[in-house]
Symmetry: C3
Subunit: 340 residues, 3 copies
C-alpha cells in the first residue's frame, strides 16, 4: 500500500516538515532506506546514520528535526510513529476467504461465511470461527471452542475444547491453548492425575507467540484479558489470570494460579511462582525470579550477570559462605564496639 507523505503524517499523528506529495511505498532501516521508503530514528545508537540517510522521510523526535537532511515526520514518540506507519504500510489485499477441501469441519461447528480455513484443519462440533478470521494449515479447534472475528490463526495451532478467544487474535504457529494444567496429588508415592475441568478465556486483541502454551484451569478458567501480548515459548499455568495490556517476552514461566496485574512489562526468561499476585504496572527485568506476591508498582529485578568464569568461580564460592561472612563481620563490629 502506498501513501502520500502528507497523508501518512496525518495518519500517524506527526508534524510534517517537507514535501507532502512524496509517495511512500514501504518502510526500511535508516541506513537502508531509499527515496520510496519511510524510516525512523528512536534508538540513539542509530543517530550517526541520520546525516547520510537517503530515505523519503524520517520519523523522529522534535529535537532531531533540524538535523534531518530529508523530510521529517516529527512526533514525541518516534517508535510509536514507526509502529503506526508500519501498520498502514503492511496492509495488503486480503486473500479471498476459502475453506480448504482437506479441512474437516464438523457439521455442528459454525464457521462464518467470510472466514478462511486452511488445509488439514480440524474443527470439532460446537466450535465457532468469527467473521474474517483465518486458520492456517493444520490448525485444530476443539469442541465448543470459539475464536472471535478478524483473527489470524497461523499454521499448526492447537486450541483444545472449551477455549474462548476474543476478536482480532493473532496466534502464531505451534501455540497450544487449553491443554490440561499440571494437577497431580500424591497417593503414597504414586501421582494421581487431577482432571482439569476449567477452560481458557482470552480477551480481544491478544497476540500469542510461537510454541507458547496456555493451560486450561482446574475448576475455574485460565484468563488472559484484553490486549495482552505474549512472545514465544511462554508457559502459562492453569488458573493464571493476566491483566489487560500486560506484555510478556519470550521464555517466561508463570506458575499455576498466579494473578498478574494490568500493564505489566515482563522481560525474557522471567520465572513467576504459582499462587501469588503481581500488582498493576510492575516491570520485571530479564531473568527475574518471583517467588512471592508483589504489592507495589515498580521495577523489580534479580539474577546475576556474567563474569569471566574464573572470577565467577571465586565469587560464587564466597556466596556459599555469605552467612558465615555476615556473622564474622558482626563479630568484628562488636569487637570494635561501634555497633554493639
Amino acid at each position: 500500500m502506498s501513501y502520500r507523505l502528507g497523508e501518512l503524517a496525518e495518519r500517524i499523528g506527526a508534524e510534517l516538515l517537507g514535501d507532502p506529495d512524496i509517495i511512500i511505498d514501504r518502510l526500511a532501516a535508516l541506513d537502508a532506506a531509499g527515496p520510496d521508503a519511510v524510516t525512523f530514528l528512536s534508538n540513539r545508537r542509530y543517530r550517526p546514520y541520520l546525516e547520510s540517510t537517503r530515505a523519503g522521510a524520517v520519523i523522529l523526535a522534535p529535537e532531531l528535526a533540524d538535523a534531518c537532511p530529508v523530510p521529517a515526520l516529527v512526533l514525541d514518540d518516534p517508535y510509536l510513529g514507526y509502529a503506526r506507519a508500519a501498520t498502514l504500510l503492511s496492509r495488503t489485499v486480503e486473500a479471498t476467504p476459502c475453506i480448504a477441501a482437506s479441512a474437516v469441519i464438523d457439521p455442528a461447528a459454525a464457521v462464518a461465511p467470510d472466514a478462511s480455513v486452511g488445509h488439514h484443519c480440524v474443527i470439532e462440533a460446537g466450535a465457532s470461527v468469527g467473521a474474517g478470521t483465518s486458520l492456517g494449515p493444520g490448525s485444530f479447534l476443539g469442541r465448543d471452542s470459539s475464536i472471535g472475528p478478524q483473527g489470524r490463526i497461523a499454521a499448526r495451532v492447537v486450541v483444545c475444547q472449551g477455549v474462548h478467544i476474543g476478536a482480532r487474535a493473532i496466534i502464531h504457529p505451534g501455540v497450544v491453548v487449553g491443554a490440561d494444567g499440571f494437577g497431580i496429588a500424591n497417593d503414597d508415592g504414586v501421582w494421581v492425575k487431577i482432571p482439569q475441568f476449567g477452560g481458557v478465556r482470552i480477551g480481544d486483541d491478544v497476540e500469542i507467540g510461537a510454541n507458547t502454551t496456555i493451560d486450561r484451569g482446574a475448576l475455574e478458567d485460565t484468563v488472559i484479558e484484553n490486549g495482552v501480548k505474549l512472545d514465544n515459548l511462554i508457559q502459562i499455568g492453569h488458573n493464571v489470570h493476566i491483566g489487560a495490556h500486560t506484555a510478556i517476552a519470550a521464555c517466561v514461566a508463570v506458575g499455576g494460579s498466579a494473578r498478574i496485574g494490568r500493564r505489566c512489562a515482563i522481560q525474557g526468561a522471567v520465572s513467576i511462582a504459582g499462587h501469588l499476585e503481581i500488582a498493576d504496572d510492575v516491570h520485571l527485568t530479564a531473568t527475574s525470579a518471583v517467588p512471592n506476591t508483589i504489592r507495589e508498582a515498580g521495577v523489580y529485578s534479580s539474577g546475576m550477570p556474567i563474569q569471566e568464569n574464573r572470577v565467577w568461580r571465586r565469587n560464587i564460592a564466597r556466596l556459599r559462605q555469605l552467612d558465615d561472612m555476615a556473622r564474622r563481620l558482626r563479630a568484628v563490629e562488636r569487637k570494635l564496639g561501634d555497633r554493639a
Copy 2:
C-alpha cells in the same frame, strides 16, 4: 457422571458426615459450588469461604469437620480426596472408536480394533497402537514405534521412529518424543553431527505436557520410568534416565545423560546439567541450577528472588566484588587477632 454422596465417600476413602443420599453431579470451587457439587478445602487461604459455602459436600481434613456447615467428606489428605473425586466425576461416555478417513496408516502398522486415530494422523510401518488408545488429529507415529493400551494422545503429537510408550499414557499437544539428541563433535572449528542410534522407552502411567521434547539416545535409549509426570515445555536430553514417580514442573531443562532418581519433585524453571546423578527423593525448588551430582535425598535450592531494581543493582555490584570483600574481612580479622 453422578454419584450418591455415600458412594462417593466410600470411593475416595473418606468418612461421611451427613446425608448419604445427596446426589453429586460435579466438582466446583469452595465459593462457587452449589448443592449439586462437591468441593474441597486443602489450602488454608480458602478457609474463610468454608462458613458460607453452599456446596453439596466439602472434602476436608478432620480438624475442620466441625466447622463445615454442609455434609463433610473427611480424610487426612483432602487434596488427594479431591483428586480422587475429580477422577470419578470426570468419567464420560467414551466416544465410539473411529479411524478417520484422512488418517494414513501403513498396512504394516498394527492398530488395535478399538483404538481411535484422528484426522490427518500418520502411522508408519511397524508401529503399533494399543487397545483403547486414541490419537488426536494430526499426530504422527514413526516406524517401529509403539504406544500401549488406554493411552490418550492429543492433537499434533510427534512420536518419532523407535519410541516405545507404555500403558495409559497421556500426551498433550505439540509434544515431540524421539527427535535426535544434540550430539556434535568439533572437527577443526566445524561441527560434525553424531547420528543418534538410540530410542526412547517410556513406562506406564506417564503424562507429558504440551510442547515438551524428549530426545532419543545416542547409542542406548533415553528412559522415562513408570508414573513420571512432566509438565509443559520441558527439555529432556538424550540418554537421560528419570526414575519412577518423579514429577517435573514446566520449563525445566535436563542435560544429556543425567540420571534422576525416583520420587523426585522438581519445580519450574530448574536447570539440570548433563552427565550427573540425582538421588531418589530429591526436591528441587523453582529456578534451581544443578551443576553436579546430588547424592542425598533432601530439599535443594538456588536462585535469587527479586528485589526493587535499584536495591538489586547495588547488591549485584557488591556480589561481583565478593571475593575481594571476603579477603578484606579476613584481613580485618587478622588485624584484630581473633582468628589468626
Copy 3:
C-alpha cells in the same frame, strides 16, 4: 552399512592396531559392544570398562592404545573419531523419493524431482524445495520460502513465508521458523503491534532442534550463518545474527537484535539480552545471563549452584543485605586505619 576395519580406520583418520579384515556392522557403548561393533572411549568415566570390552574395535587416544584388549583405532580426538564412524555406519538405503497424495503443493511452487514431501504437507506458491530434500508429514512451507538441497525436514515443521534455508539443513519436529518477531509499541497504555517485514536467512549445514522458534526480522532479516547447531526449545528473537559454527544448547533465549559471533559455544538455559554483541569464540556456561556486550573471547559464567535449602535461605537473605555488609566492612577498615 558394513565396513572392513581397515577401511573404517582410513575413513575416520585413525591408525589401526589390529586385524584390518574384521567386519564392523554397527556402533555400541563400550560395555555393550559385541565383536560386530565398534565403540569408543573419550570420557574417562568409562575407562574401567576398557579391559573387559568385547567390541570388535575401540576408538581411543594414543595413550590408551596399549591397554586395549581388542583392535584399536587410534586418533587424538576419539570423540571426533566416534562422530565420523557413526556417520559412516548410519548410512542407510535412501527411501525412494515420493510426493504424498495428501500433500497440497501449489502449482506455483518448485519441488525438485527427487525431493520427498510427506503426508498432509502444505507448500505454498513461490516456495521451493531442493534436490534430495525430504519434508516430514504435516510440515508447512510458506509462500516464497526456500529449502536447499539434501535437507531433512522432520514432521510438523512450520516454515513461514519468506524464509530461506540453505543446503543440508536438519530441522526437527515442531520447529517454527519465521513467525513474527515480538514488536510492540505503547500507545497510551495500549500495545500497538509492529508488523514484521523481514525474513529469515539460514545458511548451509544448520541443524535446528525440536520445538525451537526463530522469528522473522522487523525490517531486515534474522540471520543464522553456516554450520550453526541449535538444540531444542531455543528462542531466537527477531533480527538476531548468529555467526558461523556457533552451537547453542537447549532452552536458551536470545533477545531481538543480539549479534552472536562465530564459533561460540553456549550451554543450556542461557539467557541473552537483545541489542548486544557477543564476540567470536565466546563460551557461556549453563544458566549464564548476558545483559551486555561481550567484547573478548573467553569463558563467561553466572548463576548460582544449588545448596541445601536451609543453607541457601540463609545465604540468600544475606545477599539481599550485601550492599549494607560492604559499607559496614568499609567502616570497619576505616576504623582500623588500614585502608583510609
